[in-house]
Amino acid sequence: MVKKIAPKLSHEQYKHNFKDIKPPLNLDSAISEANRCLYCYDAPCIVACPTKIDIPSFIKKIATQNFKGSARVILESNIMGGTCARVCPVETLCEGSCVYNDLAQKPIDIGRLQRFSTDWLMDNRSKLFERQPDNGKKVAIIGAGPSGLSCAHKLSQFGYQVTVFEGKDLGGGLNTFGLADYKITTEFALQEVDFVTEIGGIDIKYNTWVGKDVKMEDIINEYDAVYIGIGLGTTPKLRVDGEDLDGVVDAIEFIEELKRGPKEKVDVGSTVAVIGAGNTAIDAATQAKRLGAEKVYIVYRRTQKEMPAYEYEYGLALKDECEFLWQTNPVKIVGDDCVTGIELVRMALGEPDASGRRVPSPVAGSEFILEVDMVIKALGQKSYESFLSSIPDLKLNWGKVIVNEDMQSSVSKIFAGGDCINGGKEAVNAVQDGKIAAQGIHKMIFGNVGV
């Protein structure tokens, strides 16, 4: 329940507000952009890509209209190349390292070129990958997000029987439920799940929470290896009064509701405060604005300099006229049943802490009330620590699974990757972890042969 719900928009307005922020290239624009690529030797864009896609090679293949070959280069390195093409922070990764930046020219539009090739492949239903004959081994994967699916695909290529346990009713993880709709649609994320599992040998068991619906112990006993790709859970509590009022929501849950749609069913406050300034906070803020909120504030206790969101994301929020309240922190949330306001306090910045960011502390007497109808909490996500710590001998570091370079944990048959080992990074990192883990599992079971 939200006290003052922003007026609903027309179907056309929703469509307009949530359309692709980076619209796809057409044949002419893709070939023309591909021809701009210098085809660098030992290119910096490859170095910048966590999955090490041979970018100049896939771009060259677009220029020669070898679209299937182009998609192969991408997908062999990154089976979720379609998602990454849409959601990767390319401005800081591949495109950010393009040599054209040093020539005062626009970098190559790598993300959209990658989307062009992967879309081509999915639209043309061209089969790229073959599963090797069944090798008689079984692997369990927990979580059907980018990391779990990447691991599943690679393992299936090696001939494993893969069972994926997914708590939700749909696969794709944050690709499906956790990203701004103008970057990636739910339909695409689900289409990609089908594309990945098309290879065969992958059975996804939906609505199955490990530790609740099935026992972890049974899985460990039954399978030759286990991969944990469970990502992260809900956002931590603000620990302020009024947090349980109606109209206080978790950013991840808010975005999931929007992604499940239809959009007209999602109630958004007329005035919204988003707490936090990470990339998810920006997604929540811009989505709230595009759902029809009249005013969206982004409340952050430090300054723009310390803000965890990427520069590009910050720009998106500014474009959507979200207002940043720097050096402010919630003291309490005000309202009877529903939120009517949030009490904020100004923060002063002291000396840098271990992370190098200056430590904020409240300025006495600077409290003020901001009238809002909705508060979206986006303080990052907590680890599924209770589940992880229940696994015997599994070593954790602040809730994150400790793994070696093969993504192998302290329990030899358990591997892990993605947000549950790194505390929350990009889809592309999760995909890479899954790929490495699959190779690690194969190495563990069959030795170095065939990896």
Binding site: S32, N35, C40, A43, V99, Y100, D102
Partner: protein, 418 residues
């Protein structure tokens, strides 16, 4: 103010930019708009015996997304009635007295046929004639065009017939589809031609359509070889121009330079190597008559900067710089230098040198990524400079090793002495 007016074997035009005999010059409507745009002259699309053209006539070669690097044409000479062309030529010349109007001709190899068309053409008041001995397709199968241009004796015969009756300057247009273009050039010169023009188009098959597997341009189920022109043929035209400009028998002939001229820079290069004017076609077929504005403007600005007052000040100026290889200085030494401040670390110089040259660039990998010339290994081939995408990042620097000039002949003498 510089003067770019041109006098080509007695034919005057306000600038050296003519349109070549081709589709853009086939009628009054086109030619008058070309003159409005600023073209100094036109060579009217070849008149001759009646022909029929096919539908689907052009195909292009594209490179790295650039269209029409080269163009191929299987169109023949004019397919309009001779009377109509002659009437329009007369009208155009009357309306544009200061522009050059040249009539291109090609008829069967009979004295009467040639002499009649010469008389009828000159009757229009045109400024000159260009004999089309170059057309390599269609017409050549009937004993005309390149079928004449490839046989010096035939050229000689026809030029003599034409010169018997012609009152205006006669330009002979040469085909490049021959192993040594100097022979037809000498033949035309001996027979009394007033000027030469080159190159005509080059025999070509433009490629094969990978859907239908039929070569392009597709005419029904088949194709035919056609004539190749456009930016890609310029270097071929320049070397042929240069060989004629150097040949003792033809070096005094005025030459109209043709072949891939698209910009004022191209035109200047043709003039520097000995052409007195240029003829343009493909660039106009690609972008329209309007391109002449920058050709004029660019050439004038360049001349002003270089302090050239008239075209004659620089025509042929670079010609003597072309030597036979045997006369080059074997002791001239250049080495590549990479300006590290400008280097964007694309690695193109490295891989080119490594795979195609002399392994004389070292590569230090990231994080201190760096490409450096190994001077002892560098033979000064220029390849790295050519592939570098950054202006003036790689430069070729001369190394004075205080060795005297030595060409191949002198080198051989040295070797014998030892």
């Amino acid at each position: 103010m510089v003067d770019i007016s041109s006098n080509f074997c007695g034919i005057k035009s306000p600038n050296p930019f003519w349109l070549a005999s081709a589709p853009p010059t086939d009628k009054q409507y086109n030619v008058e708009r070309a003159f409005e745009a600023g073209w100094g002259g036109v060579v009217w699309k070849t008149l001759g015996d009646p022909i029929v053209n096919v539908s689907s006539r052009y195909a292009s070669i594209d490179y790295n997304g650039r269209r029409l690097i080269g163009l191929n044409n299987i169109e023949l000479i004019t397919d309009r009635p001779l009377e109509l062309n002659l009437k329009e030529i007369r009208d155009v010349k009357k309306n544009w007295p200061d522009r050059a109007v040249i009539v291109s001709l090609m008829v069967e190899s009979k004295k009467e046929a040639w002499q009649e068309i010469v008389k009828r053409s000159e009757d229009t008041g045109c400024d000159g004639l260009e004999l089309n001995f170059g057309c390599p397709h269609g017409m050549s199968e009937r004993g005309m065009g390149a079928a004449v241009g490839q046989v010096p004796e035939y050229i000689c015969n026809i030029v003599e017939w034409v010169k018997e009756v012609a009152k205006t300057p006669v330009i002979v247009k040469l085909t490049p589809n021959i192993s040594d273009v100097r022979y037809p050039a000498r033949s035309a010169t001996k027979a009394g031609a007033d000027a030469l023009s080159l190159i005509n188009t080059i025999n070509s098959i433009m490629g094969v359509d990978l859907k239908t597997l039929i070569p392009r341009p597709i005419v029904g189920e088949t194709s035919a070889h056609g004539v190749y022109c456009g930016p890609a043929v310029k270097p071929i035209a320049l070397t042929m121009l240069s060989s004629i400009a150097h040949d003792p028998e033809t070096k005094n002939m005025p030459i109209s330079g043709i072949g891939g001229v698209s910009t004022w820079q191209d035109a200047v290069e043709f003039l520097l190597l000995g052409a007195s004017n240029v003829q343009v076609c493909t660039a106009v077929m690609h972008h329209g008559f309007r391109i002449v504005e920058d050709m004029i403007d660019g050439m004038q600005n360049w001349m002003e900067e270089r302090k050239f007052k008239t075209l004659d000040d620089f025509i042929g100026l670079s010609s003597s710089r072309v030597k036979d290889w045997g006369n080059l200085n074997l002791n001239y030494k250049v080495v590549a230098n990479i300006n590290q401040d400008k280097c964007i670390k694309c690695g193109l110089c490295y891989i080119a040198c490594e795979d195609a040259s002399h392994q004389s660039i070292s590569y230090t990998k990231a994080p201190s990524k760096k490409f450096e010339i190994i001077e002892e290994e560098c033979v000064g081939c220029n390849l790295c400079e050519l592939v570098c995408p950054v202006q003036e990042c790689i430069t070729m620097e001369t190394r004075d090793e205080e060795k005297p000039f030595m060409n191949w002949t002198e080198y051989q003498k040295e070797v014998l002495k030892r």
